[in-house]
């Protein structure tokens, strides 16, 4: 059980997505998931071992690290990837439900179970809103927990059992900052893609609805 599951899930959703949805999936795969696994994970691998404080007092380093990194950047990143990909499951479930219904009644109930109309369209729109919501929530969480996306070289810590204010040095701060900015940029890109897809679908289907009503009125 690993990231392969997420990859299979997203590949499954690909069939029922619009064009912009497919671009979103490509961006998530390549610029977020692949970068996370191939590059970012290793930067944070030894973050605790390499966190060094200018003191010999046992326990001080542990306490300071825990104070400055309640939840590590890399774990937040992984959680964000999982939460942002999960709303797509709603669409997959709805299509499976439709297919099941057709089997159960043994007749063609829908033009095509994967076609975006009626209930499935609502589900798709809800999944887009949820995706965007999760992205924003995680970006705000990052910002609030770490005072922005900067990673300082030095933090000053004075929690017990550290005797006084102690200098603690974070490992690879510049590299971490570069990848956090990369994370921010790709998240923003995904938010923009989701919002454009949302507006495109709402616009397309309102025009369709309006035209249908107009034709009915004429008749």
């Amino acid at each position: 059980m690993s990231w392969g599951f997420l990859r299979d899930l997203l590949s499954g959703v690909n069939k029922y997505s619009t064009g912009i949805g497919r671009i979103w999936i490509a961006v998530v795969f390549i610029f977020r998931l692949l970068v996370y696994i191939a590059a970012a994970e290793n930067i944070w691998k030894y973050e605790h071992d390499e966190f060094e404080c200018n003191i010999k007092q046992p326990g001080c380093e542990n306490v300071c690290f825990d104070h400055f990194f309640p939840v590590s950047h890399i774990r937040l990143w992984a959680l964000q990837l999982i939460m942002v990909s999960t709303p797509s499951l709603l669409v997959v479930f709805h299509v499976a439900y439709r297919e099941n219904r057709e089997k159960h009644h043994n007749q063609k109930l829908y033009k095509s179970p994967g076609e975006l109309d009626g209930g499935l369209l609502c589900t798709y729109l809800i999944s887009l809103i949820l995706k965007t919501g999760f992205e924003i929530v995680f970006l705000v969480l990052f910002y609030k927990l770490y005072n922005g996306f900067k990673v300082p070289r030095l933090v000053k810590c004075d929690i017990r059992p550290c005797p006084n204010t102690v200098d603690c040095y974070i490992s690879k701060p510049t590299e971490k900052m570069i990848f956090l900015y990369f994370l921010l940029a790709t998240s923003c890109l995904c938010i923009v893609l989701n919002l454009s897809e949302l507006s495109y679908l709402v616009f397309k289907y309102s025009i369709k609805c309006y035209l249908k009503r107009h034709i009915k009125k004429r008749q």
Partner: protein
């Protein structure tokens, strides 16, 4: 989930590439991705642990390492490979879109053989030619940019054995020793050489495509 997925996607693009494009893909897979995963990652694996400074001052090593290696070689190569592979996706998307359009026309009543559609070799003509050529152009640009970034960040392509550091809190100028400098230099030069070869292949492919179109046009006019 790892480089395997990228390999699967790029393998799909292989069908619609020219011969030079296929050679480029092979070079990318074998001499870059495979070498990165199998060898280079091990060489850089212990880079901060074995970065040793001639001082007992806590924090000095962290700060000096961060100063001399703002972003590790291995991460830059991973990013370079990702960015260089991405333009090929444009071609894959264009082919998928063309197929989708043909299927739509089939559904609307036009007679098209579905089997033939699936196995059809898509010829690089018309709008696809423009997509393919732009993807090659972007590949060349990304390669060049990354090669320049490497050169600029590390003052050349050689890994020094010793760096002198006086960033705070190091007390004075402190000698810091990089781990495995010769092995790292060897791999850096190897990756540089392969990037150069890939760039040459891309340029050759670009010239080939342009010449093909020019010859076609001249045949049409005569």
């Amino acid at each position: 989930m790892d480089w395997g997925t990228l390999q699967a996607v790029l393998g799909g693009v292989n069908k619609h590439s020219t011969s030079i494009g296929k050679i480029w893909l092979t070079v990318l897979f074998i001499f870059r991705i495979m070498i990165l995963v199998v060898a280079a990652e091990r060489v850089w694996g212990d880079e901060q642990q074995d970065f040793v400074c001639n001082t007992l001052q806590p924090g000095c090593r962290n700060v000096c390492y961060d100063h001399f290696f703002p972003i590790s070689h291995i991460r830059l190569w991973a990013l370079q490979l990702i960015f260089v592979s991405t333009p090929a996706l444009l071609v894959a998307m264009h082919v998928a879109y063309t197929r989708h359009e043909k299927k739509r026309r089939f559904r609307n009543g036009e007679k098209i053989d579905l089997e033939e559609l699936k196995n059809e070799k898509v010829h690089i003509r018309g709008p696809l030619w423009w997509t393919y050529t732009s993807s090659i152009f972007f590949r060349i640009v990304f390669e060049a940019v990354f090669m320049y970034v490497f050169y600029y960040m590390y003052d050349g392509y050689q890994m020094p054995r010793l760096v002198k550091c006086n960033a705070w809190p190091c007390p004075n100028i402190v000698d810091c020793f990089v781990s495995r400098p010769t092995e790292k230099t060897t791999f850096t030069i190897f990756m540089l050489a392969v990037s150069g070869i890939c760039m040459m292949l891309n340029l050759a492919e670009l010239c080939y495509l342009v010449m093909k179109v020019c010859m076609k046009e001249s045949r049409k006019t005569t």
